[in-house]
Amino acid sequence: MLSRTAENLFWMARYMERAEATARLLTMGQRMAILPGAHHRDEWRSVVRATGAGHQFPEDTIVTESDAVSFMMLDADNPSSIRSCLLKARANAKSARTMLTQDMWEALNEGWRKLDSYDVGEARQQLPTLIDWVKTRVMTFRGAAHSGQLRNEGHDFLRAGSALERAQMTLRLLDVKYYVLLPETEVIGGNRDHYQWTSVLHALSGSRAYHHVYGGTYTPWQITDFLMLNRLFPRSVAYCYDQLAYRLNRLAGWHDARAACHETVHDMVAALEKLDSGEIFRFGLHETVQHGLSSTNRLGAEIAEAYHFG
């Protein structure tokens, strides 16, 4: 396969996951912002911080829902906005068109300029509908790939890209939780805390799954355990790392060659296996998350190097 095609598939999947992740972050922001007193707590700042763009907003003003929706959904200059992600995913797809099934292409092509026509007022008004639309696009795309794409190396690049981005999304969502923790005024395990933790689960469509695993009780360490370490939940960091290891192993098999990325992913899986949620909190959730984000970034760069991305 052309290196350029592999790169396009990898990034196309990343952008689609990122669009969905950003949509989920917006959902979570809205849920948190309807809590009493949210306005004073600047909840939306934690959400934009989780996208890695906190510095774009001045410290001395409150980040409003308008700011967040405009920046995260519509902003053409923000490379991580949903609009940018969908456009870039489609551009990648166009470049790798011959590796896509017709259904995959149609999923990316339908309504590809839809967000161009929205202003922030309309977008806020229709936020749930738009978020559903984004999620449906991503799920249709994913389903089309799942049910139609040849299981060749192209599929492995696609799935590796998506697993990498998804691990980052879950890590970032956990980080939102870190940012909204207000230790001075809130007790861990208090009502608001409880509500915020469940928001994280909800944003990841993981509430039901969580109940099946842990029963009806919410505790920060169990939720963290679930999102970081549960190997059965497809959005957990552990699950995504396993996927990455599996996909990279298959690529090593196709090419009969191993590179730095194969060692790195192996180490990432092994390190996570040794952890339990108690240790995560002892080490610090934020620190654990930051460490995870930097290893996934490094892994991404190593994959690009191993397969001669441009």
Binding site: L2, K94, R97, E106, H255, Y307, G310
Partner: protein
């Protein structure tokens, strides 16, 4: 009145259109218009678009599609088929001749200037013979009709004729929306085209090729106006779609960069212009292209389809001589006529053109896509005077043709079936054999009376049927 493809002068339906007529009556004009919207939605969803730059608005446009097919009878097609193949053979023989002995010039049939001073002539191709002696592997010939039995060639496209994806997609849409029309098996299928193209390309593999030839389609990239077609053809042939940056030269071969390392390429169906092929030979200022590829080509390491320099055969000044070429190289009588053409480069012909510009169509020799044309009868006095001044300044750059009484094809209007002018482009494949699928692209001017069918200027497309006996 121009010849109408569907109706006789007395208003009765030509028999080849019987099925269509019944279908129109059954469905009703309103019903057909509703189906047009559905067809458009399908085109948009599949992503069959072409790009138009610099005009604002949606950069990826749909070409308007018309539901009513253009129909050739089996008998009409037999003539076209023979005439097209004949022309493709003559054009390839001409290309070989101009890059070798130049016998057509020596025989006094064509003036040397037209060839050797032409910007499409590439001195770098002299004395080189491409595999199989094939220069133009896909010959697109634009044909118009002026009467029941008269088909005339408007121009030849020997470089990279585009539009074949529309031939295939138009048929796809029609069979999807109106399966009942095809159930009787009266329409000859065209879906072999990609397989035939691949066969033709493999037949011209270079001497260095061992085993099954590796074929690729070379595109300038996803911003090119015909990118959809490039990816579509690569897809249907099951070959890689590469951009120049995916290719590199090492020693005597061309390779593509893959995740497994370099892989040798044998045949490149290139959809980029000569001048952007190789910055070492053609345009040093270009960032496009594959450095060294031309040298590999000349040494038999790779085949370029179509051959560099093949564009000399689609020059409008060369076009005039194609009937002569057929007689000279093939010793045959031309089956398809040219349109009468005056060359402004010849003083007496220029005089005639300037005098009669108000009733002629004048064109730039190197122009394409309907740009830079003057349609005399539809122009103002000032426009004609301005164009005449341009001709006087550079006579050799212009030709002129009569405004033909082009046939009209049935086209769906809001309230009735109307007649619109159309042309027709079949795609003739040249490898070791010559192949032609029964069909092609019919382009139609959607405005009443208009003669401009180019997609860049608002023309539309429709399915083309060749009826089986």
């Amino acid at each position: 009145m121009p010849f109408h493809e569907m109706f006789e002068p007395d208003g009765s339906v030509r028999s080849c259109y019987d099925e269509v007529q019944q279908w129109v009556e059954r469905t009703g004009i309103a019903g057909l218009n509703r189906r047009m919207d559905e067809a458009e939605a399908i085109f948009r969803r599949i992503g069959i678009t072409f790009a138009v730059y610099g005009e604002g608005g949606d950069p990826e446009r749909l070409i308007p599609f018309d539901l009513l097919p253009r129909i050739f009878t089996a008998q009409e097609w037999r003539v076209l088929d023979k005439g097209i193949r004949q022309r493709a053979r003559a054009l390839n023989a001409f290309l070989h001749d101009v890059y070798h002995r130049g016998e057509i010039v020596k025989a006094g049939i064509m003036p040397a200037d037209i060839i050797y001073r032409n910007s499409a002539y590439l001195a770098e191709m002299a004395d080189f013979t491409p595999p199989g002696k094939v220069y133009s592997h896909i010959v697109g010939i634009d044909i118009v009709r002026t009467g029941p039995g008269s088909f005339e060639v408007l121009e030849d496209n020997c470089r990279t004729p585009s539009g074949v994806s529309y031939m295939l997609e138009n048929r796809e849409i029609m069979t999807r929306m109106f399966p009942e029309l095809f159930n009787q098996g009266i329409v000859a299928p065209v879906d072999d085209y990609p397989a035939e193209l691949l066969k033709s390309l493999k037949e011209v593999a270079p001497p260095a090729c061992k085993g099954d030839p590796v074929v690729v389609v070379l595109t300038p990239g996803s911003l090119n106006s015909a990118y959809y077609e490039h990816s579509f053809l690569a897809d249907l042939m099951g070959v890689e779609l590469v951009e120049p940056a995916d290719l590199f030269v090492d020693g005597d071969r061309v390779y593509m960069k893959t995740t497994l390392g370099p892989k040798a390429v044998d045949v490149i169906y290139r959809r980029i212009d000569d001048e952007y092929l190789d910055p070492l030979v053609f345009r040093a200022d270009s960032l496009l292209g594959v450095p060294g590829i031309f040298n590999v080509y000349r040494n038999g390491g790779v085949t370029l389809a179509s051959a560099p320099g093949a564009g000399i055969a689609d020059d409008k000044a060369v076009y005039i001589y194609v009937p002569e070429m057929i007689r000279f190289y093939l010793g045959e009588k031309p089956i398809l006529d040219n349109i009468q053409t005056w060359q402004c480069g010849k003083p007496d012909e220029m005089a005639y053109v300037l005098e009669n510009l108000h009733e002629l169509v004048a064109k730039e020799v190197h122009g394409s896509g309907g740009y830079g044309m003057l349609i005399g009868p539809k122009s103002t006095k000032d426009e004609i005077a301005a164009y005449a001044a341009r001709i006087r300044a550079n006579p050799g750059e212009f030709i002129a043709q009569p405004t033909l009484d082009l046939s009209t094809v049935p086209t769906l209007g809001p309230a009735a079936v109307v007649g619109r002018h159309a042309d027709f482009r079949p795609y003739c494949l040249v490898g070791k054999q010559i192949r032609l699928v029964p069909g092609g692209l019919t382009r139609v001017a959607l405005t009443e009376g208009s003669l401009v069918v180019n997609s860049s200027q608002g023309g539309g497309v429709k399915d083309t049927w060749v009826l089986q006996d």
